[in-house]
Symmetry: C2
Subunit: 197 residues, 2 copies
DNA sequence: TACTATCCGGAACATCGTTCCGTTTTGTCA
DNA sequence: TGACAAAACGGAACGATGTTCCGGATAGTA
């Protein structure tokens, strides 16, 4: 509900020059601070690095989720677009699904605490709906459907469920003793055959 | 490192009467507040409900994790003790493992945001080590070993990995669209057979 | 009863998110 | 070009929360 004007191309149209300047500066600063301190970095620090006041950051990105999705919009888009391509290129829908999830996991674990932020907040996972789920969920759904149709995985799994579970598993990737991918592999493996009996 | 004196029976020995009184009051108040507002409830509120100052709560439980583990010590203990019993009673180690994990999941999802708290904090999952992992990890390890030995699941999975993954999956259980158990079932299902090929 | 080690309470400080409003900048129109 | 109004800015200010600190109260003891 807040990711229309501040994000993406829609905002490039005819706003004041200083507004655009600041928005760009904020995006750049946020990207920098995010990699340095995670997506939970204090708002003030981002504002400071961008050389703007705290009020300005709220005007452009009312919610932290807005800022996060704006910063990562490109990569989200790439991930979304990769879905159909993988489905077309892979030798089986399940393979495509695995590859796509690999991309998704890459995306999550590369950003410090991105996965964390998707469940924290007060509104939980829904906080990042703006672009995240709206864009990625249908892609995941298509891959799942294709794999089900090819009779490679059991039916009944909800795309939201799967994506959220994977997101959850990616939380806290800094721990060297914990590798989300191994568990995700297990998850996918458990998905393969129809319910045990 | 901070869960020795404030938690458990060790502290019942010969401290001042008012100190013990306050410690009990704090445990009771925390338990009440936790179920009402989750384990992330403001320290002040717990202190207020116990009728003590904020300084007092920090003296008895330097860390929130100390308070949490103290409050749930009983249930953690029960869960730990259930491991060997299930292993002895079930018709197969894998069945026992599943049942035990069910208990663990029950424990996590019953408490608002307990799973959440185990990965947040600054130190991540390790924050609740005090009693949680130290007590539960060996139990999980035994169950896993038994199942591996019975050739029911693939070898190589680390107990820490599994418990943490399950903990992660239990995050944000309030969402009606998301049921951790279904994914955990998939996980366990993926655990059953040795690696695909 | 008096005395001291222990403990208590909550004020005080720091951090962070968020809001608000006086001031500044920008684009436009005469 | 020179106002002028709308838009945007900046940062002070407020509230919530975690954490520390210390003067004062209290329990146990001689």
């Amino acid at each position: 509900m807040s990711s229309e004007s501040p994000t993406g191309r829609a905002s490039v149209r005819s706003k004041r020059a200083d507004a655009l300047r600041n928005q760009q500066a904020l995006l750049a600063a946020a990207a920098e601070v995010f990699v340095a301190s995670g997506v939970d970095a204090p708002i003030r620090r981002i504002a400071a690095k961008a050389g703007v006041g705290t009020g300005t950051i709220y005007r452009h990105f009312p919610t932290r989720a807005d800022l996060v999705t704006a910063v990562y919009r490109h990569q989200i888009e790439e991930c979304a677009e990769a879905g159909p391509e993988l489905l077309a290129g892979a030798d089986s829908p399940f393979t495509a699904l695995c590859q796509w999830i690999d991309l998704f996991v890459d995306f999550l674990v590369t950003k410090h605490g991105l996965a964390d932020a998707m469940q924290s907040d007060s509104s939980g996972f829904a906080a990042l709906h703006g672009y995240f789920l709206d864009r990625l969920l249908p892609v995941c759904a298509r891959l799942l459907d294709a794999a089900v149709e090819a009779d490679e995985i059991r039916a009944g799994i909800q795309p939201y469920e799967l994506m959220r579970g994977i997101g959850n598993l990616c939380i806290g990737g800094a721990d060297p003793q914990y590798d989300p991918r191994r568990l995700i592999e297990l998850l996918l493996c458990g998905l393969r055959r129809p319910p045990s009996e």
